[in-house]
Symmetry: C2
């Protein structure tokens, strides 16, 4: 590809970092950069920082369109960030207007889970499948569907939040308002909470790996200890695998996608959860062809959001092209 061929810009805006990539219309990531967002400095400083990042990765090439995948809540229609929770001071911040104006191109805003799913559909583990479900397990559990290559949107254009599906009526109360939702049982903070409680009851190498500080035991420590054969860590990876399997089973039962892709920080240890997750999901085989649904680890890591945002930008550009 020649240096002068026009590009899409994909931006992944998280609570801590913002990443941008220059992506060819064929989905090659040509250039990539990341910086701290430092949201507390205010949205205007943030937009400046993002614009600088766009200039860095574009490196003088013609930009066709800009896509942003942002940590929600967002207002897609208005192109505004509504997230004072993980982006302090960012409430009702028009992010598309300034970027679109500055670079003279159309821009589109998506939920970060939707962008990651679109990225994995375009260039990753779910490449080209007709029905893709993506689950990201990290600080929360994100969920998105891509049907026929388009992000599936619920009523009013809103984003479904499958990560909060209810799995156990006797489970812990979540901020979502429900007891025993998937996130309350198996996202990063829930894992740390339960591991720390368990480590208070019985000896485990997790404590050594956490430098003797129980409060530092988390999913990453568990994974490390499990690979060293620690009994408690292995018990928990199996137990968590079952919970991931229950969630996967419900996605199979309700949506029956071709593939379910699992990503996010916790799923870097996909292999540790895999056996018990698959066994739990397979229990539903008599009812639906669960064996035909592929359960896969995400392939793109942190690039999924950037590539998906770039794909959303490409779709926007082509859509505009048809109408202009």
């Amino acid at each position: 590809m020649s240096r002068s061929e026009p590009i899409l810009i994909g931006i992944d805006l998280g609570g801590t970092n913002v990443r941008a990539g220059a992506v060819s219309p064929q989905g090659e990531l040509l250039n990539w950069s990341e910086t701290l967002i430092e949201a507390r400095r205010g949205p205007q400083a943030g937009v400046e920082r993002i614009a600088a990042l766009v200039n860095t990765v574009a490196a003088g090439r013609q930009i066709l369109a800009i896509g942003i995948g942002a940590t929600g809540p967002i207002d897609r229609e208005r192109g505004a960030i509504q997230n004072p929770y993980t982006l302090p001071t960012w409430e009702d911040v028009d992010i598309l207007g300034p970027l679109s104006q500055r670079f003279g191109v159309p821009a589109i805003l998506e939920n970060d889970a939707d962008a990651a799913a679109l990225g994995e559909w375009w260039r990753g583990a779910g490449q080209g499948v007709k029905r893709l479900a993506m689950v990201t397990v990290g600080t929360g559990i994100g969920y998105a569907l891509v049907l026929d290559g388009k992000i599936y949107r619920g009523t009013g254009g809103w984003h479904p939040e499958g990560g909060h599906m209810r799995l156990d009526p006797n489970g812990p109360l979540c901020y979502c308002g429900g007891n025993g939702c998937w996130e309350s049982l198996a996202a990063g903070p829930a894992i740390a909470r339960d591991l720390q409680a368990a480590a208070r009851q019985q000896p485990t190498r997790m404590l050594d790996l956490a430098g003797g500080v129980i409060e530092k035991i988390d999913a990453a420590v568990m994974a490390e200890a499990a690979r060293l054969g620690d009994a408690l860590a292995l018990e928990w990876t199996a137990r968590l695998g079952k919970i991931y399997g229950l969630g996967v089973a419900n996605i199979i039962l309700l949506v029956l996608p071709d593939s379910i892709v699992l990503g996010g920080g916790v799923m870097r240890s996909f292999d540790l959860f895999e056996a018990s997750m698959r066994a739990t999901a397979a229990q539903t085989v008599p009812i639906v062809p669960a064996g035909q649904v592929k359960i896969l680890a995400a392939q793109l890591g942190q690039q999924a959001g950037v590539l998906g945002a770039a794909r959303a930008a490409l779709d926007l550009y082509q859509e505009k092209g048809h109408h202009d």
Copy 2:
């Protein structure tokens, strides 16, 4: 509408009865008839019986196409019934071929839950919405999605079975292979099982209404007793409402449809479950706009399947028209 205007035929094939309707292209049910299927007499006798029913309701009008909604498992692609469970001896029975040939029109086979959902979308409680989920609570819990006016199909064209979503890891084991699935907790047989166990423990008017025979206590008896103010029956309608609410909440979280329509025999008492069902579903409001999702009782009763099958026939006819 003149008597000579052509019609669609919609057929609802259940384990006990088969119903057929003559339906106008605008969705008016012009004529309707029903008979016992007596599946044990064999598939050939069954097809004869269905053909006779078609002649009865068509009453000489021109037929454009025939749609059948049948109790599953079915093989849609091959137009075959694969159901020795509720249609004894009906295994790998080509139902479309003989009917299509006899009447010289195209014919299509759908799962009965899909047909009912399409019926409610066309002429019932979910009329015209972009994203409809339908749940039928009877002997089992059926589930179907209609997106953009089309039945949603999962991987390989298969039908998702949301009625078996897992809601309680400590719940009873279902024939689906999972513990605590929706159907195992709240379909007709589960309700009867739990009510009968409860009636053995404490006095209830349900026992009188069942003629003193505990084994005759079921969902219908519960509804009658609840309307008479029986404490145990009211306790159970509230408890079941919560379980329906959990399932509804998960549909909202995973699919976020515009409307969720609840039908089937047990849902004739929709009003008795409504308060606790809505309260449980509403717990998820902070995460998704659950309040915007309409939760509605089905409107078409037993006609939903016939109308939906007729609609599938209409779509097939129009599709063929485009290609011919």
